[in-house]
Chain length 299, copies 2
């Protein structure tokens, strides 16, 4: 089944201990779409400026991503520039130029409105809620967010959570949102706002899936060499939602498998800058790491 994603499309300038890229393709919707397209059809809604390289548009089209919802408007594309410290755990933002993304008002094309899976990538929760007002009875709504919105749009985010089936957050965000450092107590609080499940991403420590009567702990695929963690969360979400939409089920075992798929896709993504590693990744590579993780957790 198809997935609708609404999020950012950016040109990132990134410095990590092992390299640097200037104006590389990035953004939550971009990373998510590419990752999800290993498994399912993706319909992308976002905005770029007239300076957005045509090669990126062609690449997305060639990948089979539906870009009817991609607006190209006069002005400059959203740019983010940042760097990571030695252990790649923390990004330092050097500059954020929202440009055309600053006035982004998602318009869901008529042909997208009945998409069964909706992924609300990290954008202003007011806009995420606006997207939900435009779509018709989605089968499953999955959302992401970031520390900025918890900080300045907490009420709107909590409102959004009423209509989200599965919320994806990282451990720092869930602690910030709930004021709870204990992951179980924090998850319980988020579940009380509405979602049936929450996936807590813990970077190199893996991810947990928590529901009212569900607790699943998944390891991260262990990597000796990471080059750029940008997009790890978005590609995790892409693998997760992409797999769910491909099997058309959302039972407990399927959700657990989806977490593993998400982890594997993210593990490839962080091995190089931008989409460079994912572009070389094949479905068979994903299955290979999936099997390795299976061996890694059995006892």
């Amino acid at each position: 089944m198809s997935i609708l994603v609404v999020g950012s499309i950016a040109l990132d300038t990134i410095q990590t201990p092992t390299g640097k890229r200037v104006d590389a393709l990035g953004g939550s919707a971009t990373y998510f779409s590419y990752a999800a397209s290993f498994f399912s059809k993706v319909r992308m809604v976002g905005v770029v400026g007239s300076d957005f390289p045509k090669e990126h548009v062609r690449m997305l089209e060639k990948r089979g991503i539906d870009i009817q919802g991609l607006e190209i408007v006069d002005g400059k594309t959203f740019r983010w520039s940042g760097s990571y410290d030695g252990d790649l755990n923390k990004a330092t933002t050097h500059r954020t130029d929202l440009n055309v993304f600053g006035a982004f008002k998602p318009k869901i094309p008529a042909s997208y409105k009945a998409t069964p899976y909706v992924f609300l990538a990290n954008i202003d929760p007011d806009l995420q809620r606006d997207v939900l007002r435009q779509v018709r009875r989605p089968k499953l709504v999955i959302a992401d967010t970031m520390n900025l919105w918890i900080d300045i749009k907490r009420d709107s985010l909590v409102q959004l959570l009423r209509d989200v089936d599965i919320m994806i957050m990282n451990d720092a965000e869930i602690a910030q949102l709930t004021g709870e450092h204990n992951i179980i107590r924090a998850a319980r609080k988020v579940l009380s706002y509405g979602p049936s499940y929450i996936v807590v991403k813990k970077g190199s420590h893996g991810a947990v899936l928590i529901g009212k009567s569900e607790f699943f702990s998944a390891p991260a695929y262990p990597l000796a060499e990471l080059h750029d963690p940008t997009g790890a969360g978005d590609t995790f979400a892409g693998g997760f939602v992409g797999y769910l939409a491909s099997v058309k089920k959302a039972d407990r075992l399927t959700l657990r498998r989806a977490v593993i798929y998400g982890s594997v896709v993210a593990s490839y993504n962080v091995e190089d800058f931008s989409l460079e590693r994912l572009k070389k990744t094949k479905k068979a590579d994903i299955i290979k790491r999936l099997k390795e993780i299976k061996k890694m957790v059995s006892w």
Copy 2:
């Protein structure tokens, strides 16, 4: 089979967000011994002062722990006082009074010298090496350490590692020892010093077991309520080594199971101060959480 443990025995004064204890029984050898004695016979070597409460000695004896190696000397018992912050991840030491422990020179009783399993709890690596000079051909040597020794006795610790089969460290310690933040690269470095395996404890993120051709990822048992993390590492080691000694094998699957046993015993320990929770824990409770973890990781 029997386990010889050499380590500290302390009276701890601890403040956590949920409570306080003054002069409660603690120390690495104490926590380890109690935890390991769920599974195996333990022979304990340590030192206390003449002020050490007799009730603790009786409790250890009643538990079946061999305390022939427990020296009681004139003076005061080792005292540690500390507190934990809100998320219980970091201990702040308020006071360390080594007292009789400051002059501790482990003397292994003749009847202990051929003990097949040797656990070197966290003490000065010079003393850990001295213990290995006193024992006869142990089947398996497992060791722990702490940031202090990495800081001031690094060379001695690296020397020790030549004769250790399984090293147990936490993620901060292994990064400090190797200068590597990546757990795989850090583990490879430690393995190059001698051990066949390293177990990296990651607190609430679980533990990993790494060998030349082994990578096992174990979750921590999820707890909504923790009261005192003191002794978590020592009780993990106690469950780990205790289980290994009880099954008399050290193949890959056994080692993986041992990590899970260690995690479960540690999960009970942190639910209350000192040994208060472990004293109420039965073997059946351990098996119960073991089964829950099994469910928690399957997909």
